[in-house]
Symmetry: D2
Subunit: 430 residues, 4 copies
C-alpha cells in the first residue's frame, strides 16, 4: 500500500491498546480449538487469504425512493470513492479490490488504474447500468433495456455492456456483472416469453464480446424496480440464462433478492452442483432488497451460505472460485464503517464455517442424526472467532479494531472539510 | 364544474359512440339483477354517490430508488396538479376531492382554494411530510421525526403537522393524515419502547391542535424506508395510537403496507368493530409497498375489503364514514389514466359488494355452509358491473369510457407543449 | 355414462328450472361478445372440450396435523371414491378422469378398470407415495425416500414407483407423478448436494421403467413436511430434474407450492418456453400449501395462469399438452361440492382467457401501453362467463347448476346411509 | 429431585470427562468478561435461576398432515410423559415445570400431582383443546369452538376451559392458555365481526371462572388449521382480547405464529409497554408454524427477543414476569434431546442478552450511532456463553453436556423395551 489514507502510526497506536487482550483471547481460543483438533493458526492463515470486493457506489450514502440523507464528506466522484475504499482495505486488509459501476465511475481508464495502483487497490467485476437513464442517452430504459420491445434500445443496452467490458479490460477486471431492472408493473404489460427471448438474444451478443479469460455474471432479483414481474426473477431463470449462454456465464446470488422464507444456502448448493455459481453480492435483509450490512439481520444465514462454500471445497468441487462482492446501501451509517463491519462479518462467517467438524458432520448425516448434525454446525457457529479475525488483520498490517481505529484517525472529518456537502433529495417520488 | 380542462363536446362525442351498446348491456344486466331481486338503478345511484379522493402527488410520475422516468407534461406545481386532478374528476365524476401534501403543495391557501373552486374540486385529508428533509429545514429527519431522540427535531415535526392543520383549515379540509418513516435499519439502533413513547407524546401535541370537527389518521407500514423496524409497523400499533390519543384519532389502512399473506379485510373488520377505522389509502401490490393501481393485481382482495364496508353499513355500524383515498405511484403509465382507472376499479369493487345477497349470506354463515357462503360472494364478484359504472358516469356528465375519452381529448399532448420536460434521476441511490 | 349415480331426471328437472334464465343470459352475453368480435358458441365449444382430472383422495374429507373432522358418507375405499368422482363428472361433464394414489387406491387393476368403465371414467396420472409409511413396509421414509442415505430404502422407493407405473399401464394411465416429502428440518441434517444426487439417481432408475408413451412429472414444493429444506424445493430444481432425466420428464406446477409473493404465471411461461411444463395441480392458497378450492382465494391469479396457457396455444408452441389435475384438501365442505365448484372455476378461468383480444394485447405490449395492455386482460377477466360454462354443461348432458342439482339429488344422504361413519383424529400431533 | 430417571453416577461420570475443559473455558471467558466489566459468576447465577416449562405433548414424536413417524419408546400417557420431562429437567436443571394439555393429559389430579412431586416437577400453564374433537364429545369443533355459530357448541368449549382451570387448581397451576383453531377456509364462510364477538363473550365467561391469582393467556396465530382467516390471527387482535377481558388477561407470543418477515421482538416490546405480555411459546420456524427446536433456524432472532426481556428488566418495568414455555413438534429427533437442546438454546439467548452493555447501548441510541449500537448487541451475541450454561447446570447437579449424558444413560433404549411401539399414520390426509 503506497498512498495510505490512514496514518500508519494511528493504526499502530490503536493496535497497541488492544494487543495484550487479543493475545489472551487468541491463546484461550487456540487452546479450546486445539481440544477440538483445530489449529487456530491454520484457520487464521486461511482467513487472511479471504478477500471480498467493495462496490464503488457503496461508499456514498444511499437512500430510498422517499429520501436520501447524505452524510459528511460524501465522495465527489470515483477518485474520492477509491480513496474511501483504500481506507477500508487499509484497516481490514480484506478488501483489496473495488467493483466499478458504469457510467457512474466512467473516467479515463489509465487514470483509474493509476489512482488504484497508488492506493494498492485492484478492480473486481464491472457493473453495467441499464436500469436508469444517463444524461444525454438517446433511448430511455423506462420500459426495459435488454428486453425492450424496441430493437434500437436493446442495441444501446448491448453496446453499453460491451463498453463496460472494454473499460474493464483496460483496468484489469475479469468479469462483467449484468443486472437489469427489466420487467413489468401490470399483468399483461409484457409478454413473459418474448421478453425473455429478447433478453437472451441481447446477452448472447454481449457474451460474444467477452474475452476468453472473463466471466459474465447475471443477477436475478424477485422484484423492484418492476413490481409485477421481473425478467430475471429468480435463480431458476438465472440458471437458464447461464446455461443458454455458455461456459463463461454464471449466476450471481445477491442475498436480498429472493422471495420471503427462501432457503438461499440451498440455491447456492444447487448452483455449485450444476457448475453455475458465479459469486455473491453480500448484504442482509429482513423484508425485501433492504441492502443492509452483511450479517446484521440473520447472521446464521450468512454462516449457512459459507458452510456450503467450505463444504464445496471440502468435497473438492472442480473449478470452484466464486466471486465475493459486497452490495449494500448505507442510509444511516458512515458507509466506510458499514463496509468495514461487513467485510469483517463475511470473514467471520467464513472462519466459523472453517471450524465445522466435517468428518463428524458427514457421519451424523449418514446416520440421520439430525440433532447432532445441526449441533455440529451450531458448535462452529457459536465459537467467537473475533480473535482469529483480529489476528489476521493485525498480521497483515491492519487494525485490531478497524472501526475504532477509523474513528481515531479523523478521516471522516478530514474529508468533510475537503469535500463540499452533497445534496439530499426526495428520491423516486416527486 | 366551471373551468373544465376537457371540452364538453369531446365527452359528448365519445359518449355518443358508446351509448347504444351501454344501453343494451345495462338492460341485460338489469334483467339479470332483477331475477336476483336487485334493482339496478338503485345500485347505480349508490355508486354515483361513492367518491374517492385523489392524491396531488399521484398525478406526477413516480419512481423507485433506482430511477425515475418522467413522462410528458409533468405538472410543475400544485396548480398544474389540480388541473390534472380536475380532468380525472371531470371524466369519472368519482373524484371531486384532492388530498394535499405539505410542503410539496404549500401555497397561499386562498389561491389554492380559488383554483380548486374554479375546477369544481374540494380538499380531502392533509398529508404532512417528515420522511424527507425540505430545503432549508433546520433539523434533519435522517434518524426520525416524531420519535427522534432529539427534542428539537421532534418539536419541528410537531410544528410542521400543526402547520398542515392550519393550511387545511383555510382550504376546507377536515382531516390530517400522519405517516412517518421513523424506524431503524439495525437491531439495537433504537429502543422500541422509548421511540414509541416519544412518538405518542408528539402525536398527543398534534392532537391538541386538532379542531373539534377534524379527524387525525395515523398510517402504519411494515417497512420502507426503515428496513429493520418501523415505529408504526402494523395495525396493532396503529390501534394503540388511536386508542391512546382519543376519539378523533383513527387508523388509516393502506392496502400495500402489510406483511406478506396478511388478511387485510379482517383488519378492516377489526378496526370497524373497535371504532377505529379512519379510512384507506387504496392501491395494489404484489411484493411490498408497490403502490400499483387499485385492483390491478388482486381484484378479489379489493372486493373483499369493500365487502366488509358494505357489511358494516348492512349491520348499521354507528358513526361509520371511512375516508377513501388513492395513494399510488405511477411509474410506467400516464398518471391521469392510472388514477381514472383506479377510481373505476374502486367503484367496481363497491358495486360488486352491493350485489352480495346478505340475507342469504347470513343464513349460510349461520349454517356453516362454507361452499354456498363463499359462492354468494363470488356470485356478486363475478357480475360484470361495468354497465353500472358507465351509467353512473354518464348520468353525472362524465365519460362512458373515460380513458378513451381522455386520449381523444389530447389533454396530455396539450400540457406537454405547455409544461417543460421534467428531469429524471437515479433515485435514492447515488 | 353407463352407471350414473345421479338420476337423469333429477338433472332434467333442475335444468328445467334454470333453462329460460340461462337462455336469456347466454343471448345477452353472446350479443356483447359479438360486439367484441367473439363468437360465443366457439368459446362454449372450446370450454366443453376442456377437462380436468380429479384426485381420488380429494373425495374424502381432508384434515390438518391438528385434526380431521370427517363428513357424512365418507368413501370407504377406491370403489366408493370412483363412485363419488363419477357424480362430479356426471354433473359437470368436465372431469372424466381420475388420478389414483398408490398404495391408498391399490386394488386389482382389472376391477379398477371395470368399475371406472362402468362409470364412464378413465384414469389420469398415477401418484406414488413415499411420504408416509404404508403398513408393513420394511423400510421407513422418516428420513427420506428417493434421497435417503440408505440404499435399501431408496431401492424400496424406486420399486414402489415402478409398481405405480405397472398398475397405471394396466388401467390406461399415461403418466406418473412423483412428489416426495424428502428434505430436512435442521440446518446440517442433510447434505444438499448428496441428497439431490441420490434423488436424481433414483429418478433415473424410475425413468428407465417408463413406457415410451408415458410422461413422468416431478413436483416441487417449498416446504412441508420438511421445514428447513426440501429436496425438490422450487421450479429451478424441478427444471434441473426434468432436464437431467430426459425428454419424457416434465415439471408439475402445484399452485400452492411456492414462496410467498411468487409470480406463478411467470414460472408457467418459463417452463413452457423451455419445453418442460408437464401440467398442474390446481388449488388455491393464501398462506402455504393450503389446498383450498381452485379460484377461491385469488381468482385473478388462476386467470393469469390460464392466460399463459392460451397464449402458448396462440403462439403455436409445439408439443404443448399440459395435464390438468386438481389437488385439494376439503376440510369444511362436502368434497364432492368442492370438486364440482373447482372444476367450474378452472373452466371459468380458461373461458375468460379465451376472451382476451390477443391481437390488441400484442399491439399494446409492443407499444409499451401498460394501461391498455392490462385493461385488455381485465376486460376478458371481468366478463361473467357463467352462461358459457352452464351452456357447455347443459349441452353435454350435465347440470346448469351442478351444486344445486347435487343437493337436490340427495346423493350425500344416500351414501351416508350406506357407508359407516369415518373416524376423525388429531392428525400428526399426538 | 427424588425419583430420578437418570442414574446420578452417569451424570457424575460424564461430567468428570468434561470438567477440566469446562474449567479452562469458564476461566478464559471469565477473564474476557472481566475486561468488559462483567462478573461471569453473576451471569451464571442469573442463568441458573432462569427456567422454561416443557410441554407434555412435546415428549411424543410429532407429525404433519402427511405422516407421523413414531420413534422408539414413545410415552403411553401422561405418566410416561412426566417421566420423560423429569429426564430433561434432571439433565438441564432448567425445566422444573410441565405444561399439561387437556384432555390428552386428563387424569386424576391427585395422581398427577403425586407423580410430578416424586419426580421433582411442578405444573405450568394448563392448555385447553378445542381444535380437535375428543372421543365421545357431543358437539364437533369442525366449524369452530368459542366462536361457533351454535350456542351449545360454544358452551361446551367454555365448560371445557373451565374444567381445565379446575384441574389446574388441583395440581398447582396458575394460568390457562387458550389457543383456538377457529377461523374459516373461504371468504364469506364466517362473519369476522360476529365470530369475534362470540369469541369474546365466551372468553369473558371463562375469565369469570379464573381464580384471582391466575392469569389467562390468549394465543394468536396467523393461519393453520384455518386457511383463509383465523379469529385470533395476530397480536393486534390478541391485544384487543386481553384489553377487553381485564387485568388477569395477557397475550401469549408463539414465535412461529406470525406473518413472514414480521419483527417479533418489536411485538414483544409493544406488549410489554402496554402491560399485556403474558409469555412465550418458544420454538423456531422458517416457513410457517414449523415448531422446530428453539434457536435452530434464526438464533439471532431468539436473542433479540431476549434482549427485549432483559431491557424491560433493565428499565424496571413493573409487574413483569412473563411465562416461558416451549411448544415444539419433534418429527425427526428424539423429543427428549430436542427439548434438552431447546432449553439450552433459550438459556443461551438469555445469557447473551445479559451481556449487552446497556449503558453503552443507551448512549449509542441517544446519539443515533446505529453502527455501534448494533455492534453492542452483536458483541454480546457472539460471545460463546456455553461455559456459563454448562457451569450453571453443573452447579445445580445437572450435566455439563446433557445430550451426551442422556445418550450415555441408555434411557431411550430402556423405555423402548418397556413401552410398546406406537402406531404411525398418514396424518390429516386420508
Amino acid at each position: 500500500m503506497t498512498d495510505t489514507k490512514i496514518a500508519v502510526d494511528v493504526i499502530a497506536a490503536e493496535n497497541d491498546k488492544r494487543a495484550a487482550a487479543l493475545k489472551d483471547d487468541y491463546e484461550a481460543l487456540g487452546n479450546q480449538l486445539a481440544r477440538r483438533n483445530i489449529d487456530i493458526n491454520a484457520v487464521t492463515a486461511k482467513v487472511a487469504e479471504f478477500f471480498v470486493a467493495v462496490p464503488s457506489w457503496g461508499v456514498g450514502t444511499g437512500g430510498t425512493r422517499f429520501a436520501r440523507f447524505p452524510g459528511e464528506g460524501e465522495p465527489r466522484g470515483i477518485f474520492d470513492k477509491l480513496d474511501d475504499c483504500a481506507v477500508i482495505n487499509h484497516l481490514t486488509r480484506a478488501t483489496p479490490n473495488v467493483s466499478l459501476h458504469i457510467p457512474w465511475d466512467k473516467q479515463d481508464p489509465k487514470r483509474l488504474k493509476a489512482h488504484a495502483d497508488a492506493l494498492g487497490l485492484g478492480f473486481d467485476a464491472m457493473n453495467s447500468n441499464t436500469f436508469s437513464d444517463a444524461p444525454g442517452q438517446s433511448r430511455s430504459y423506462k420500459y426495459g433495456s435488454l428486453s425492450h420491445t424496441d430493437a434500437a434500445t436493446r442495441q444501446q443496452a448491448i453496446e453499453h455492456n460491451i463498453e463496460c467490458i472494454e473499460i474493464g479490460k483496460a483496468i484489469g477486471s475479469k468479469a462483467l456483472t449484468v443486472w437489469v431492472g427489466d420487467g413489468s408493473n401490470f399483468p399483461g404489460q409484457s409478454n413473459f416469453t418474448r421478453s425473455f427471448e429478447r433478453y437472451l438474444a441481447g446477452m448472447a451478443d454481449i457474451y460474444k464480446a467477452l474475452p476468453d479469460d472473463w466471466r459474465i455474471f447475471s443477477e436475478h432479483k424477485m422484484y423492484e424496480p418492476a413490481f409485477y414481474s421481473s425478467v430475471v426473477q429468480d435463480w431458476g431463470t438465472n440458471y437458464l440464462i447461464a446455461n443458454t449462454l455458455g461456459e463463461k456465464a454464471f449466476c450471481l446470488v445477491d442475498l436480498g433478492h429472493h422471495a420471503p422464507n427462501t432457503n438461499i444456502e440451498m440455491i447456492v448448493a444447487r448452483l455449485i452442483q450444476f457448475g453455475k455459481l458465479g459469486g455473491f453480492h453480500f448484504n442482509d435483509s429482513k423484508y425485501g432488497d433492504d441492502d443492509l450490512d452483511a450479517g446484521s439481520i440473520e447472521p446464521y444465514r450468512l454462516f449457512l451460505v459459507f458452510n456450503e462454500l467450505v463444504d464445496a471445497e471440502h468435497r473438492g468441487v472442480k473449478g470452484f472460485h466464486p466471486a465475493h462482492m459486497i452490495d449494500q446501501s448505507h442510509n444511516v451509517t458512515d458507509p466506510i464503517e458499514s463496509l468495514i463491519s461487513s467485510a469483517n462479518e463475511i470473514r467471520r462467517a467464513y472462519a466459523q464455517a472453517l471450524l465445522v467438524d466435517r468428518a463428524a458432520l458427514d457421519g451424523y448425516q449418514q446416520d440421520n442424526d439430525a440433532l447432532m448434525a445441526t449441533d455440529t454446525l451450531k458448535r462452529a457457529y457459536r465459537t467467537d472467532v473475533e480473535p482469529v479475525l483480529a489476528r489476521a488483520r493485525q498480521l497483515a498490517g491492519g487494525a485490531i479494531d478497524p472501526v475504532a481505529t477509523y474513528r481515531a484517525s479523523g478521516y471522516r472529518s478530514h474529508v468533510a472539510a475537503e469535500r463540499p456537502a452533497s445534496v439530499g433529495g426526495s428520491g423516486g417520488i416527486v
